[in-house]
């Protein structure tokens, strides 16, 4: 059977690394350039603001714009999506006594929690396994938190530049010197429209990549500087909705089991989450590992199916869907972390670097902590006036000394064991947790998601037909993400267009935004893949499963506000 990795996309890292090309006096100079206005990037900007306030002499040396944050979405928060139940430790460290948790736009402390194993009709409660205990954690909309952090970063002096995509990594004499931003106003065929605006070279003393999952330049940098870790990175795809509900939900819920299949040959690892957002809203999402093998698996449709479960139907009864979104989560854990988190002139943070604890389903606090540590390392280097060729190595040391490293090491094999199926995997995982990671399984094999051989079932026959009230089709869901991407622009998705039918089916089902459709048959067993790039919500699933996502024109994509 086919593997998607046999049909690699037309993509070359070298196309995205270049020397600056703008004349020197047209390049835009900033002190520290941060790519991505998510929790990692904004924590970095906030911490830098604090440090530069305490050390105005250093601030002066950084010029007119000491800290700039690029964001490819319409505004900070537009591309942020998570659960989210957040461990407050990193936020507390970031803000110190300047702000308390109560000052942040949360939905309060986790009021209680339950874990269920679902079957088609029943929900069997099990005691929350240790990694899933959320006492003392806070419920947030990451999109809202992002907007809040952006305001704090601006107050601290950072300049946030939304609707700006970072297209190329600028490297000179082996050192990262900044990024080139994307063009705007190109037509579908690449030609310049009437309002064409070329991108610019943005140069900086230190560049921090905080692009989140499937970070475009992060991927480029990992290859260019040979930073990839022991294991290939793998991902999960999460699709979620935010609902207005009639009855408040009084606890955080996680589920396992149905509608995912437990057999080893399917490799369906994941589960769902249902979190209260105040008195009148709830968020529900389904997360599935992209190492699944069934070409007819559609996470979006499994989420719709999940909502038909009697227990979940009751939670949503009388409610109304407000928003929808999708995003991948890196799940390779400890062994997939980059071998180094820095290169000359460069620091890597957050989800882009794979800092996610899958068993706890948490990554926001690691992102924030890594951003904070990156700020401190960058500041140290700038303060000493060092050419940051190796000056940024203190960042790696700081991360290794932090709870990020400790936590990820503790759960290092958790994800891989689930390749053995839910029951065996679950038992092994419990053993690991109980022993705090001291059960030594050696290093378990890990394969890229796109290497998984495909099988085809009639899974899609059981997906519910959308009724527009409880269940929804993909196109109306894309609408509910706020996506209004300009159509007449170049296609930002790189895939092999002519593939065996099952690979095309895989992509068509996989993509929650209906970007791919099985097109005309070519007569030799292959089909064309039709692409509708303006549907794309930039979740990143295609990169995991055989293609490559690159950033479209700045401002494109979803406009999340509650996710």
């Amino acid at each position: 059977m086919s593997r998607p990795s046999n049909f690699p996309p037309p993509f070359s890292t070298a196309d995205y690394v270049a020397e600056p090309t703008d004349p020197a006096d047209e390049r835009i100079e900033v002190g520290v350039l941060i790519v991505g206005a998510g929790p990692a990037g904004l924590a970095c900007a906030i911490r830098l603001g604090q440090l530069l306030e305490e050390h105005p002499d250093v601030a002066e040396r950084l010029g007119d714009v000491p800290v700039a944050v690029l964001e490819k979405g319409k505004q900070p928060g537009s591309h942020l999506l998570s659960g989210a139940v957040v461990d407050p430790r990193a936020l507390r460290r970031l803000f110190g006594n300047r702000l308390r948790m109560e000052d942040l736009p949360s939905f309060g402390l986790v009021p209680g929690e339950s874990v269920y194993v679902l079957t088609r009709r029943a929900a069997l409660p099990i005691p929350p396994p240790p990694p899933m205990r959320n006492h003392g954690n806070w419920i947030f909309s990451l999109s809202q938190l992002g907007r809040f952090l952006a305001e704090r970063a601006e107050e601290g002096g950072a300049m946030i530049l939304p609707e700006t995509a970072a297209q190329r990594l600028l490297v000179s004499h082996g050192r990262v010197v900044g990024v080139r931003t994307g063009d705007k106003g190109r037509g579908r065929e690449g030609g310049e429209l009437g309002n064409f605006e070329a991108g610019s070279d943005l140069v900086a003393k230190v560049t921090v990549l905080a692009e989140g999952t499937q970070g475009h330049l992060t991927g480029v940098a990992l290859d260019r500087f040979g930073l990839r870790g022991d294991d290939p990175q793998v991902w999960e795809l999460g699709v979620k909705e935010v609902w207005k509900v009639a009855k408040p939900l009084d606890r955080v819920i996680h589920t396992m089991g149905w509608p995912l299949r437990p057999g080893k040959r399917y490799r369906e690892f994941g589960g769902s989450f249902i979190y209260p957002m105040g008195e009148d809203m709830v968020t529900i999402g389904l997360v599935v590992g992209l190492d699944y093998r069934d070409a007819s698996l559609s996470v979006h449709d499994l989420l719709q199916e999940l909502k038909t479960h009697p227990k979940i139907r009751r939670i949503l009864a009388g409610g109304e869907r407000l928003q929808w979104g999708a995003k991948t989560i890196p799940s390779g854990g400890f062994h997939a972390l980059p071998r180094r988190l820095h290169a000359p002139g460069l620091l890597l943070c957050g989800d882009g670097a794979g800092m996610v604890n899958i068993p706890r389903l948490k990554g926001v606090h690691y992102a924030i902590e890594s951003g904070r540590l990156a700020a401190e390392a960058a500041f140290r280097a700038l303060q000493r006036g060092e050419t940051p060729a190796s000056a940024l190595s203190s960042y790696d040391d700081a991360v290794r000394d932090s709870f990020i490293w400790r936590d990820l090491h503790e759960v290092r094999n958790m994800r891989q064991v689930f390749g053995h199926g839910f029951f065996v995997g679950g038992a092994l995982a419990s053993a690991m947790t109980a022993s705090k990671g001291r059960v030594e399984l050696g290093k378990l094999p890990a394969e890229p998601d796109a290497d998984q051989p495909l099988l085809v079932t009639d899974r899609d026959a059981s997906y519910p037909a959308p009724d527009g009230q409880l269940t929804f089709d993909k196109l109306s869901s894309v609408f509910a993400s706020g996506n209004k991407t300009r159509d007449d622009q170049p296609n930002h998705i790189r895939i092999e267009r002519r593939v065996p039918r099952e690979v095309a089916e895989l992509w068509a089902h996989m993509c929650p935004a209906q970007v791919y459709e099985v097109g005309a048959e070519e007569g030799d067993g292959t089909v064309m893949v039709d692409v509708a790039p303006s549907n794309c919500v930039q979740c990143g699933a295609i990169t995991a499963k055989g293609g490559r996502l690159t950033p479209p024109e700045g401002g494109s994509g979803p406009e999340y506000t509650l996710t």
Partner: protein
């Protein structure tokens, strides 16, 4: 209520939209309704206004109103409101009328509710109906103080003769502010008859993927020609290169509100729906009985566009002679 209706004309005809507003005003039955017509040689149109319910028609044939410009008309109406004691002035939306209504509102410090689709009397007070948020919500709107100005959406009311008799005709003349007469019409070009643009068309025939191939867009074009309308397209077919982006209707294309929208082979995804949902009448032809478009069309036809549309086009041609 003492109601005055602003009537527009073009050439020798009173515009149907404003006649519809006049008919509606008369039907409210609250006092005599006056009408005003301004322009060169408009006296001949006064009798027509009577047929649609005007008890009194004011005629202004001053040189200053010979050109179809708004500001001199503000002067005329302001005078009429004062002299004629009108407390309500109604307009049917047009490029000209909107500017007159707004200018008059500022001149008289009078409340103007616009984009109304209806008005009714409640306890002797007029209440307007105003769609908002892409027609997803309807607001009841009112006025405080006097006079009350209302601008109705084009085509809100049918121009049905109210069976009125000959109206009283009076001349009105006024002095004009300097700035009112500062704009000069230098040239006029009538619309080329290459068919209406999508934004202005009363009829739009739109094609989607159900047409099957780019060649089949001729089906839409022929039907549009027969109906005197414009051709539109969905994002999917524009993406596929079947039709230019300028014809794209939908969330990321144009929003249109024609009187008649004929959707051929269009599924009706929400991205398309938000661009045409306010159309007066929606007729959809699609092979798929479960296509979402049938949920918001007035007439849904489950069938093959390739069979139905040519016949339909021929019947329309015959009918229109």
């Amino acid at each position: 209520m003492a109601t005055l209706v602003f009537l527009e004309h073009h050439g020798n005809e009173l515009q149907k939209g404003s006649l519809g507003v006049l008919a509606k005003a008369a039907s409210l039955g609250d006092g005599d309704v006056g009408a005003v017509i301004a322009g060169e040689g408009v006296k001949a149109l006064a009798a027509e206004a009577g047929k649609f319910g005007a008890a009194k028609v004011w005629i202004c044939e001053d040189a200053e109103v010979a050109q179809p410009l708004p500001q001199p008309r503000v002067d005329v109406l302001a005078q009429l409101v004062e002299e004629g004691g009108y407390d309500t002035v109604l307009f049917a939306n047009s490029v000209l009328a909107a500017d007159v209504a707004a200018g008059l509102a500022a001149r008289l410090e009078a409340g103007l509710n616009w984009d109304l689709v209806d008005v009714e009397l409640r306890d002797g007070e007029p209440v307007g109906k105003r769609p908002a948020l892409q027609d997803s919500v309807y607001a009841d709107v009112g006025w405080s103080g006097s006079p009350r100005l209302a601008l109705f959406r084009a085509g809100s009311f049918d121009a049905t003769p109210a069976g009125g008799g000959a109206p009283e005709i009076a001349d009105v003349s006024t002095s004009y502010a300097e700035y009112s007469t500062a704009v000069k019409l230098v040239a006029q070009d009538a619309e080329e008859s290459s068919g209406p643009s999508i934004e202005d068309a009363d009829v739009i025939v739109a094609g989607g993927r159900g047409l099957g191939s780019p060649d089949n867009f001729t089906l839409a074009e022929e039907l549009a020609k027969a109906l005197g309308g414009a051709v539109g397209a969905t994002r999917a077919v524009v993406d596929a290169g079947w039709y230019p982006y300028s014809a794209q209707i939908g969330q990321t294309g144009k929003t249109v509100t024609p009187k008649l929208y004929v959707a051929l082979g269009i599924s009706g995804a929400i991205q398309h729906k938000v661009g045409m949902q306010s159309s007066g009448t929606i007729v959809a032809i699609n092979k798929d009985a479960n296509a979402p478009i049938f949920e918001f069309s007035d007439l849904g036809v489950v069938g093959d566009v390739h069979e139905i549309v040519p016949k339909l086009t021929e019947l329309i041609r015959q009918r229109r002679g």
